[in-house]
Assembly symmetry: C2
Homo-oligomer: 341 residues x 2
DNA sequence: ATGAAAGCGCTAACAC
DNA sequence: GTGTTAGCGCTTTCAT
């Protein structure tokens, strides 16, 4: 497949073309472009005029072979996760101001695929990487972090030494939810997830689970602890929810690890005529736009994605600037109360 | 900002390392990697063993300087558009099978930003580009198409000669909606959009507008034609919707150019206690996952994103293989009826 | 069938 | 302050 036989032979304007046109050396052009030290105004003007005239753009690929590409790589877990747009926007706001470009790779929440994508970004000579909600194990990340500056968002590897982590405090967020339930008089509060804490202890869901467990115990509700663990899947799980909601020991309140499951659960309840919150209270996590729709009105924990994004981009820059000691930042989540609780 | 002072000096395994290890020439390794003609089995085995042993990965950047990068660029309008995940998945399913990688750039639905991103992908030496719902004008695209193979999805430049376009038949989709309304006895059917057909005639919304107009006329409802044109914006427009819904001449039925506006409109109606469809019927476009939620139940036109994605990737490959004549494919949209109509 | 060598477009030492 | 030049890691003739 794909022999590349096409003739996209429009001869490219290179640094040499510019140098010739401006009547200067290649090095001079390079220096002007990088704002390097030691260029006279006269020379700079000539070069800039030629660049403008010829519509010259440096080849990122060629740049990557010697110096920097001024391009950052962002790895996203998937493309349809409500958690991502805010983060991306936050990242972009600071990278754009710094004159850096972003290239995105879309993972599939599978560690091996994600590792390949990281390698791909390294092979593309990105200057640094931001991994959002990656599932890759900590030691694998340490390995890559020796090759390229890395910041991780949405993954709690707090003992990481080679890269930074930026998170909302998922345990605290979970505790807030439990507290809110308790304040309303609920006792029969279940936690719904699709992750095994033993498999990926650093993932957000196990962290929220931990926060849930602690908060339940602290509230004297240890006897009411109940984890609903669904099989991990991206497919719609109407079956699972239907079964859960029609079971005789249906919980009175459910805290879902993410809106990703909370919203379909709410849908299933709606379909079954189960009133929310009179018959069943539900709280999610991520405060996705759908949660705010009046006919959904799902209470949910807000992570402030744009803030996380900005922090991670800033951390990456400071790391690229030479910081060696790892930073592990947590910000405060906020529970947004709506009709479902 | 960012001096790159860090010492990510882990000396990379290059093609030379492999050649030395395997006791062969650099050229030999290169040939093995590209499955080029003229390598003995013995040599191939030695090289492959060394590659495996050393964990060698070719540098995409370096490759890009002479040959191909085996990387395709995908430009997405935004990151929170329900239209995109399906398309992306479709693209990926065929590119992955062909051994190509994908890098994504996220635009902001502004022509200039998008042009910059296209240039960035060219500068990164992608082998080909798929532009999804880009707003760039046709002649600008022709310009870029001379530099790199391009396929456009979600933009109707049917007279384009240098690149391909893949779309669902937006006019037909709109006609289907009008027909469905008429079949139910509606006559007072408005079209809601936020685009000026004169500005971007090739965009999907003006196409849907056209389909709406034709279908209304064909149904003898020319007198009932009514275009609700909102100011273009990504911000939530509760104000606009509130005003529209409380106005004395509120339409009886609204066909929204996209679920992006249909869903918030539905939300505003819900908040105002306007019953759907008894007081107001609504149909959207794109059949986003939210539309399928039982408490939303928005009727919407489905484009079959995965199919569009597959077609566009296939078109790109065939173009990369040397096809010169442009292809303009349209597939049939399908109206999914739910409670809102 | 295999290897030597000439670039690809740039950056960064170093010389002038 | 400006130019020369040696690579960066590959691909690709062209000898052998």
């Amino acid at each position: 497949m794909a022999d590349g036989a096409s003739d996209h032979t429009q001869s490219r304007v290179t640094i040499r073309t510019v140098a010739t046109d401006a009547g200067v050396s290649v090095a001079a052009v390079s220096k002007v472009m990088r704002n390097a030290y030691g260029v006279s105004d006269a020379l700079r003007q000539k070069v800039e005029a030629s660049i403008e005239k010829l519509g010259y753009r440096p080849s990122v690929a060629a740049r990557g072979m010697r110096g920097r590409t001024f391009t950052l790589g962002v790895l996203l877990v998937g493309i349809d996760n409500p958690f991502l747009p805010g983060i991306y926007q936050g990242i972009e706001s600071v990278t754009e101001a710094a004159g850096y470009k972003i290239m995105v790779c879309v993972g599939a929440a599978r560690a091996q695929t994600e590792a390949q994508l990281i390698e791909q970004m390294i092979d593309n000579r990105m200057d640094g990487l931001i991994l959002v909600a990656s599932q890759i194990a900590g030691d694998t990340l340490e390995h890559y972090a020796r090759q390229i500056p890395i910041v991780v968002v949405g993954h709690h590897e707090t003992s990481a030494v080679g890269y930074d982590t930026i998170n909302n405090d998922d345990q605290r967020g979970a505790a807030r939810v439990v507290q809110a339930f308790v304040d309303q008089g609920y006792r029969d509060i279940a936690f719904l997830t699709q992750f095994e804490p033993d498999d990926h202890p650093a993932d957000v869901s196990p962290q929220r689970e931990l926060g849930y467990l602690d908060a339940m115990r602290a509230a004297g509700l240890a006897d009411h602890i109940r984890i609903l663990r669904l099989p991990q899947s991206n497919a719609p799980r109407e079956q699972d929810f239907h079964q859960l909601l029609t079971s005789p020991d249906r919980p009175r309140a459910v805290f879902c690890w993410s809106d990703l499951d909370a919203i379909p659960l709410l849908g299933a309840a709606f379909r079954l005529g189960i009133r929310v919150p009179q018959d069943l209270a539900i709280v999610g996590y991520d405060n996705s736009p759908v949660a705010a729709l009046p006919m959904v009105a799902l209470s949910s924990v807000d992570q402030d994605g744009p803030h996380l994004g900005r922090l991670s981009a800033e951390a990456l820059f400071s790391r690229m600037n030479g910081r060696k000691v790892a930073e592990h930042i947590q910000i405060e989540p906020r529970l947004i109360k709506r009709g479902s609780l």
